[in-house]
């Protein structure tokens, strides 16, 4: 992976977040405390400020730095979770940076596992993991089957979207919405939404770089 890809992907992510201000804000207002958009925006802005510094690093070092920066910037529940994701992903890439889809799938899966461990949560608890776990699984499956990168991107975007939408009918058992019981039903989880947005942004970045 090239560091320049990380930089442009992080810009796409930031734009995706900024473009969904009112949606993210109202989702967290409905079943959380209303700050998810602000948290994500603060994180994205901090990474943008870091660009010059990141540009000089290898991809894994850049991802690790991004993780550390998010850890000290976002706060809330999403901060340590996303930080763990990037730092764990960085570790995998540091060991084996062979630029294969399988390696990226493995790195992604390791990142998602780190989120699971940090948050002690799994599938079906109405969190970002309802997007991330299915995406990680599918990514690994498709990568080991040597699926072409464009096809992988389309598939992951669709899975992310499905996972995000599926949170709507769930009762939350983790995070702030866990206090809500039945009242959480009918609302998409904000973290699931922002993860779907980020996956979408990165996939589109990959797709456009293929042309």
């Amino acid at each position: 992976m090239k560091t320049s890809f990380i930089l442009s992907a992080s810009e796409s992510i930031r734009d995706a977040i900024l473009n969904h201000e009112s949606e993210l804000e109202s989702l967290d207002r409905a079943i959380g405390d209303g700050d998810h958009y602000i948290n994500m925006k603060r994180g994205a802005a901090a990474i943008t400020e870091l660009h010059a510094e990141l540009a000089a690093l290898t991809a894994d070092a850049a991802l690790n730095k991004i993780g550390l920066k998010l850890l000290s910037t976002i706060g809330g529940a999403s901060g340590p979770l996303l930080a763990s994701f990037f730092m764990s992903m960085a570790k995998v890439l540091k060991e084996k940076n062979d630029d294969t889809t399988t390696t990226y799938a493995a790195a992604f899966a390791t990142g998602v596992e780190a989120i699971q461990q940090r948050g002690k949560a799994g599938l079906g608890e109405k969190t970002m993991l309802d997007v991330l776990i299915p995406v990680a699984q599918q990514f690994s499956t498709l990568a080991s089957a040597n699926t072409e990168i464009n096809a992988i991107c389309y598939a992951l975007m669709q899975t992310a979207e499905e996972g995000m939408l599926a949170t709507k009918t769930l009762i939350a058992t983790k995070g702030r919405a866990a206090g809500l019981g039945e009242r959480a039903i009918g609302h998409i989880d904000p973290g699931a939404k922002s993860c779907q947005l980020m996956i979408n942004a990165v996939c589109n970045q990959v797709l456009s770089s293929q042309h």
Partner: protein
């Protein structure tokens, strides 16, 4: 949104600067990373550090000082602080007997403090407060939230630490106080997070939010507004259900305002709550009424009952000297 603020991004630092300057005899403010420490660092004691999202003032910075906290790490409004803050605060206040973190049980706070604890070069332990009985505990959830009862935990543990007790003893007292404490809150209006610029939730003139969280999270139920006695009755019942106190228990009753509720109403709530608990055979022998764990400008209040024993009474009564709680010196 009408608030006394300048730029939204500066609210927190300007407010903390004011706090540090008004209480310069008690606290010192560090800005990068953001944390506050106690003046007159006490030698040879467990260092007690708390923190959490801002907007709950006087929690936690208002409880820094003799007999309570050694440091506090304020996050952005309603957002957990980050591990670098806890690490720097710990570095500043540790005194060779380890660090005790007092953390309100919210996913964000728990995870950020956990990561700090993992990175910490000192021995540490954590007391998770979880007094909010609005959230029914179950094995599937992250459990109850920590709310106003946190103040009682911080007070008692802080006084014990002052006596030179070791880390595990301090943690044990914190866990004990927490397990004997239950709270539940009611909101009449929403709060408005400055950065959001609009109320977190909509609520009409004839509704209340029963079991609301201290961040304006929706509670158990949206209910019709009714007279104070009926509201208090429901909250008292939930607390009794959660604590199941023996009928001759002695207790501390805390009526906590969320920020926009006049003292007149808080004392009216105290009047009803203490009568109801007394009718249930509970002896209210300690009390605290005021804005101790707030939710910005939310109108509403929470009721907290803490079942006392001789040990808890001793540490509750011990001298404390902080910006928001002071007695005995």
């Amino acid at each position: 949104m009408k608030k006394f603020i300048n730029k939204i991004d500066d609210v927190l630092i300007e407010s903390l600067s004011g706090f540090a300057s008004a209480h310069h005899d008690l606290v010192e403010l560090n800005t990068d990373p953001l944390f506050l420490t106690r003046q007159h660092k006490a030698p040879n004691k467990v260092a007690i550090i708390s923190g959490g999202g801002s907007g709950h003032e006087p929690l936690h910075a208002g409880y820094i000082g003799y007999g309570m906290l050694d440091a506090a790490c304020p996050g952005h409004v309603f957002t957990s602080p980050t591990p670098d803050q806890m690490l720097a605060a710990a570095e500043a206040v540790h005194a060779d007997k380890g660090i005790l973190f007092i953390v309100k049980n919210y996913a964000g706070d728990v995870m950020n403090f956990e990561m700090a604890a993992e990175m910490l070069p000192f021995e540490s332990a954590t007391v998770l407060t979880s007094d909010d009985c609005a959230v029914i505990n179950s094995t599937y959830t992250t459990g109850r939230r920590g709310v106003a009862g946190t103040v009682i935990v911080e007070k008692c543990v802080g006084s014990l630490a002052e006596s030179g007790a070791d880390l595990q003893t301090c943690k044990a007292l914190g866990d004990k106080v927490n397990s004997r404490t239950a709270s539940m809150g009611v909101a009449l209006t929403s709060c408005t997070v400055p950065a959001a610029g609009r109320p977190t939730f909509d609520i009409s003139d004839n509704e209340l939010e029963m079991g609301v969280g201290i961040h304006g999270e929706p509670g158990r139920k949206r209910e019709p507004m009714r007279e104070a006695d009926a509201i208090v009755q429901d909250v008292v019942s939930a607390i009794l259900d959660a604590l199941k106190p023996a009928s001759d228990s002695e207790a501390l009753l805390l009526i906590n305002g969320f920020g926009a509720t006049p003292l007149m109403e808080l004392y009216l709530i105290y009047n009803t709550a203490s009568r109801l608990f007394t009718e249930h055979g509970i002896k209210i022998t300690r009390s605290l009424v005021g804005n101790y764990t707030t939710a910005l400008d939310m109108a509403g209040a929470s009721i907290t009952l803490c079942l006392l024993d001789e040990e808890i009474k001793q540490y509750w009564d011990s001298p404390v000297h902080t910006a928001a709680l002071r007695w005995g010196r």
